[in-house]
């Protein structure tokens, strides 16, 4: 039985290129990814060190199209690694003839960024606004209250504000990164 190791890493929806690089480096060091579990557990199995490209495709494939989708990747020599929350991970060895890539023109690279924004970031932003914004009022005016109500509201604030600010920071971070990624693709820098 080969050695198995587990690593915890968080990559946001705008960090998929970093995630691909991380998996490639692990494989180069002799650990191939065998499983991923939400929110960030990567399982690796010891293997021969090799330069293998990992690629993430954000594509929530409908059930009836799954066979065709995976068949095409398989025909092209891609090995399926895992599928999580609409992200499909594939790998293929680097050879002398080619450095493999699933997206080979800038239009399809840009299309992936647009899809992540439209189908993942915006829905999450709407959920965020619907959940937190109605409570903002409650988390603002605790000074005017007295006694037990005041203590209760202070406790509430201690949870609410860090959560609110970290979500806000996360959206700004992802939005900026995705925009930068798109610009790089448009200018042919990546």
């Amino acid at each position: 039985m080969n050695k198995v190791k587990r690593m915890f890493r968080i990559f946001t929806i705008s960090d998929y290129e970093r995630e691909e690089k991380f998996l490639r480096e692990q494989h180069k060091a002799g650990f191939k990814c065998v499983k991923y579990k939400f929110p960030g557990f990567y399982y690796f199995e010891e293997c021969e060190p090799e330069d293998v490209i990992y690629q993430l495709d954000f594509n929530d494939i409908k059930k009836e199209n799954k066979e065709e989708y995976f068949q095409l990747y398989q025909d092209e020599g891609w090995e399926y690694v895992y599928e999580v929350n609409g992200w499909n991970c594939f790998r293929k060895s680097v050879s002398l003839e080619e450095t493999p890539a699933i997206f080979t023109d800038k239009e399809s690279k840009i299309a992936q960024v647009d899809k992540v924004v439209k189908e993942r970031m915006l829905p999450l932003l709407v959920i965020f606004l619907c959940c937190l914004l109605p409570n903002i009022n409650y988390a603002c005016f605790w000074l005017s209250e007295g006694g037990l109500e005041r203590i209760f509201r202070i406790c509430y604030c201690v949870i609410f504000w860090p959560l609110f600010l970290s979500y806000l920071w996360m959206f700004l971070h992802c939005g900026r990164n995705l925009q930068r990624l798109k610009k790089d693709y448009e200018n042919g820098l990546k």
Binding site: Q55, E68, Q71, E76
Partner: protein, 96 residues
């Protein structure tokens, strides 16, 4: 039209599946153009949605597509454009 889109539409004058197209384009262009699986899948889905190509039948989990009438029309416009570009680039004039 993107280069990938052009080659796909050009190949789909005959019935073909995605992997066929990738191989044929590689062959036609002497290995210059290598369409990735993600690019191919996305292009086929989009072109089908836009009505340029249509699903014909399935063969061993691979879907075969063919250009629609609209697709052929668009391809012809594109071919004429490329022909003009080519002629002009060689210093030739194009007749009306």
């Amino acid at each position: 039209m993107t280069e990938t889109g052009f080659y796909i539409l050009f190949c789909l004058q005959e019935e073909m599946h995605g992997y066929n197209i990738i191989q044929k384009v590689k062959q036609m262009t002497g290995g210059e153009i290598n369409i990735g699986a993600g690019t191919m899948y996305g292009s086929l889905s989009k072109m089908e949605k836009d009505g340029l190509i249509q699903f014909v039948r399935e063969e061993e989990k691979r879907k075969l597509y063919k250009a629609t009438e609209l697709g052929k029309e668009i391809l012809n416009i594109e071919l004429k454009r490329i022909e003009r570009l080519y002629k002009n680039s060689k210093g030739e004039m194009v007749d009306e």
